[in-house]
């Protein structure tokens, strides 16, 4: 009953909005959000579809715990076929937008076709309409303090393949290019206001409050969610991962970054010598979040990147760990203010700082090797060139000059300049901030992720670095395929429930299950939830296989397989993916070619 049971279907071609009941049978099998929308998507879209064609669809979706007092209960996801990877793309965001959509009475919004001219969707409770308006009028609506907005920026309009959908100014469905798909549909924004009090109901309010309160206490008492994340944000990891020798640096040439200290969580707290203020203003929370890991930063107004741009002198979304890594270590830049500015641009213009930064890192390596010249780029592009990184962020957002090539992502860039092996990607999506040689389990997680390289599909950093739920040595391979499967399935459940994956630093399934059980009608045992997670994973896999991907795409770039880590505790390591992948297929119940067996499919009902 924590579903609103309403789906809004928007045909951008025809300009129509229609309501249909949520398929509750599917909800019983796929819970909500990521899982349920994937089920809709797979059922409605040809896997071979060109991601940027009108035939692709784009789904905004909430979970049953979205818009409840469950800690972090404000998440929504965007599901589509991704233009970077050609695989299923599912991008998750916080902020306030998701809860507002729920309060307006919608579990899901499905966009079909493409609009002939720029359009945005306005939802006020049960009233939804497509609005054609000028840029200025759109702005005015955006400024209505009562509306929550998820929008693409210039990057999405320019076709940057890793364009993001940004809501509440600096929260993003950031990865896999969901913003590019939105841009291809000429859909600029979704603005929503939800005031209904009857949109959905908890199945058992008393049990829900008991369970959610207990969950909040667990989060508060845990070192990571109660202390580390509020104080340093995800940036708590920068120095930890660097010291462990798993911080990919300069397009993965190195695994430790000499400038890590200058761009990490501690540095954000330090007063700048220039203006005596710290980069970090405060921490901020997404809807319903009792962790509050968000970074709110203010730049040094004298910094070269913004000294003539007062519009960037106010506070806004600061760098998280992944962004700081990608904009910094991945290309050798150690200027925190420059990273903050580039991050502001990523938020404002709507593109993924991970893919952008990693692509800049690849370009810098091509430049270093003489495969890219100053003439081609328009300026010098050595590793560590702060001003070049900043310039590329501006050009990429605007779709100008060499920024157009950066906007295609690392795989296409490296292929164009003759060195596809230098693209630090899996299935076309750039790695995030952990080196697959230093952390063997993360290597396997990247290789097998259904949306291309990603840390948020099975966060093996937890066991390999933080010892959650058990400590696993970074270089060990034993037991990791099974552990990864468990993480992937659990993550699929969390991503389908409406809550944030970060809760799982402290929460196990036994903390989450009672909250889902109390919110939703039906029986939601832990066993059933894990089955739901596994079902989602296999459904995504099926889609990818039908889209033309194979087990051969479950790989890592040659650099991670052959070039040993140069320094630090993991010195000498390469990825042992070959050792782990067959076992992973086995524990998944897949053939040696990575295809779910008929038994597995039958068991899961996919």
């Amino acid at each position: 009953m924590a579903w609103t049971k309403n789906v809004l279907r928007v045909n951008l071609e025809a300009g129509t909005c229609t309501t249909e009941p949520l398929n509750m049978a599917w909800a019983q099998d796929y819970l909500g959000q990521r899982g349920l929308a994937t089920k809709y998507f797979v059922s409605e879209v040809d896997p071979q579809v060109d991601p940027l064609s009108p035939k692709n669809k784009l789904i905004f979706v909430t979970g049953p715990l979205t818009g409840t007092m469950a800690a972090t209960g404000g998440r929504y996801s965007v599901i589509t076929k991704g233009p970077l990877t050609g695989a299923i793309a599912c991008s998750n965001s916080g902020g306030y937008f998701g809860a507002e959509l729920k309060f307006a009475g919608w579990d899901m919004v499905i966009f079909e076709g493409a609009s002939p001219k720029p359009v945005y969707l306005l939802i006020i409770d049960d009233q939804a309409e497509l609005v054609w308006e000028t840029e200025a009028a759109l702005q005015k609506h955006h400024q209505d303090p009562q509306l929550r907005v998820a929008a693409i920026g210039r990057a999405g309009e320019q076709g940057v393949l890793y364009a993001a959908i940004v809501n509440d100014l600096h929260r993003a469905a950031g990865r896999s290019g969901v913003g590019a798909v939105m841009g291809s549909k000429n859909l600029k924004a979704v603005a929503v206001r939800g005031t209904r009090t009857d949109a959905y109901h908890l199945a058992d309010p008393e049990a829900f409050f008991k369970a959610s309160e207990a969950g909040k206490q667990v989060l508060a008492a845990h070192g990571v969610t109660g202390q580390g994340l509020p104080t340093y944000g995800t940036q708590v990891l920068m120095n930890v991962i660097n010291e462990l020798g798993a911080l990919p640096t300069r397009n993965h040439r190195d695994v430790q970054f000499e400038g890590a200290m200058a761009i990490g969580g501690e540095a954000m707290h330090e007063k700048r010598p220039t203006d005596g203020k710290a980069n970090l203003v405060t921490n901020g929370a997404c809807f319903g979040c009792t962790i509050a890991c968000g970074r709110i930063s203010r730049m040094d107004p004298g910094h070269f990147s913004v000294k003539d741009k007062p519009q960037y002198h106010g506070a806004s979304g600061g760098v998280e760990y992944e962004a700081a890594w990608a904009l910094g270590a991945a290309n050798g830049v150690s200027d925190l203010e420059a990273l903050t500015y580039a991050n502001f641009l990523c938020n404002e213009d709507g593109f993924d700082p991970i893919s952008f930064g990693a692509t800049v890192g690849a370009a810098m390596e091509l430049y270093d090797l003489g495969l890219l010249t100053k003439e081609q780029v328009g300026f010098e592009l050595p590793f560590g060139a702060t001003e070049a990184m900043v310039k590329l962020a501006e050009l990429t957002a605007r779709g100008e000059g060499f920024g157009k090539e950066i906007g295609l992502g690392s795989r296409r860039l490296c292929a164009k300049y003759g060195r596809p092996d230098l693209s630090m990607t899996v299935k076309g999506q750039e790695f995030p901030a952990y080196d697959g040689r230093g952390l063997q389990g993360m290597g396997l997680a990247y290789a097998t992720s259904n949306r291309g390289a990603c840390h948020l599909r099975g966060y093996m950093v937890s066991p390999e670095v933080l010892g959650i739920p058990v400590k696993m040595e970074p270089q060990a391979t034993e037991g990791k395929p099974a552990m990864l499967k468990a993480f992937q399935d659990l993550t699929a459940v969390v991503d389908s429930a409406g809550i944030c994956l970060f809760t799982t630093f402290a929460w196990g399934l036994s903390d989450i299950q009672p909250q889902i059980q109390a919110a939703c009608e039906g029986d939601w045992s832990e066993e059933r939830l894990l089955l739901v997670g596994e079902r989602i994973w296999n459904l995504e896999r099926q889609f990818n296989l039908a889209a033309g991907l194979t087990g051969k795409d479950d790989n890592l770039p040659p650099r991670l397989m052959k070039e040993p880590a140069k320094t630090g505790p993991q010195k000498g390591a390469v990825s042992k993916l070959d050792l782990m992948l067959p076992e992973y297929y086995q524990v998944r119940g897949w053939t040696p070619q990575g295809v779910p067996t008929p038994e597995t499919k039958a068991r899961l009902g996919v």
Partner: protein, 414 residues
Amino acid sequence: MRHVIIGSGPAGVVAAATLRKADPAADITLVCGEAEPPYSRMAIPYLLKGEIGEAGTHLRKDEDHYRRLRIGLVRARARAVDTAARRVALVAGGDLYYDRLLIATGSRPSHETIPGMDLPGVHSCWTLADARALLAKARPGTRIVQMGAGFVGCIIMEGLLSRGVDLTILVRSGYMVRRMMNPTASGLIRRWCEAKGVKILTHTQPKELRSEGGALQVVLADGASLPADLYLSVVGVDPNLDFLQGSGIAVGQGILVDPSLQSSAPGVYAAGDVAESVDCLTGKRQLNAIQPNAVEQGRIAALNMAGRPVHFKGSFVFNVLTTLGLVSSSFGTWQGTPGGDSAEVLDEARYRYVNLQFDGDRLIGANCVGFADHVGAFRGLIEGRVRLGVWKQRLMEDPTRVMQAYLAAAHSVA
């Protein structure tokens, strides 16, 4: 000490209770001009809609309120005041003697001076008795021609329409509620009303009412004629001052009062619609016939009558209006001031509008339609003469952020 309060509207009722608190031993008499317990005219629209009964209009719900506070209710109307003898002469005969007198007689409907106003079927909508008469006569299909679309004219529309009547509204000027709203806001309200089936004729006024075959004919200036079962005259209000002729109490538009709300006559105070006090923003003398002003003046007048000197700091005009469900509000100098900036945001399709008027970096006036959240902050900003600083520019860019501006500028919390 004998306190006499003439008028049992909000000012009088608040004054009486305040007096009792401030002077437990005093003798308090509240003169009620109508044959009802003290009630609120503000509630009449909801009585017409059938949402409340007559008791729901009463200013105090505790039936025992007046007896418990030892407030003597006298059903009477004042005929004259003799300030030398400290005596109020009553219409029905008899006198009330006072040591301190509060005049809180409020307003009465303005009268149109066209032939036929005395015909049956011609009504006003001001008192409970008026409401009863309308309730008795307004039925599905009843043709009502209403003259006037000011505050009262607008708030009663929903009640009338809810009874299924056929409503035509005549507006003398080009705009509805023109004393509260700028043309844009007024236009939105008009369009809203018309969408709900109300016929509105602007620049229109009758020259005569005739009775023909049991119905009325409303003859317009151009000679055209509108048939009507009821003619509703709601063309504004005037302060109830007639009984003060010859009293020597100084009167301008209303009773001239000093900061303690005392009139020119020692011991005689005035509060509410009849008091001509000062506008706290402009410093100019004015009448301010709004509920919050009435109760504040009633309270302050009472404290002074009880010997506790308190100054009235002045007030300014603000009001909120609901027209067939569309909420609008008006604050201060919404017309703007020469040289001042203004900002507005308009969403015609959704009937949303905010217009702000500034003097330097202070907010001095506002009009809102369909924007009802935290509107009290408009009062806070305007009456507090809050300097907006950087928030002036932010409000210029986005007028809807008024609550943020208020918190930041008035309370320094951001």
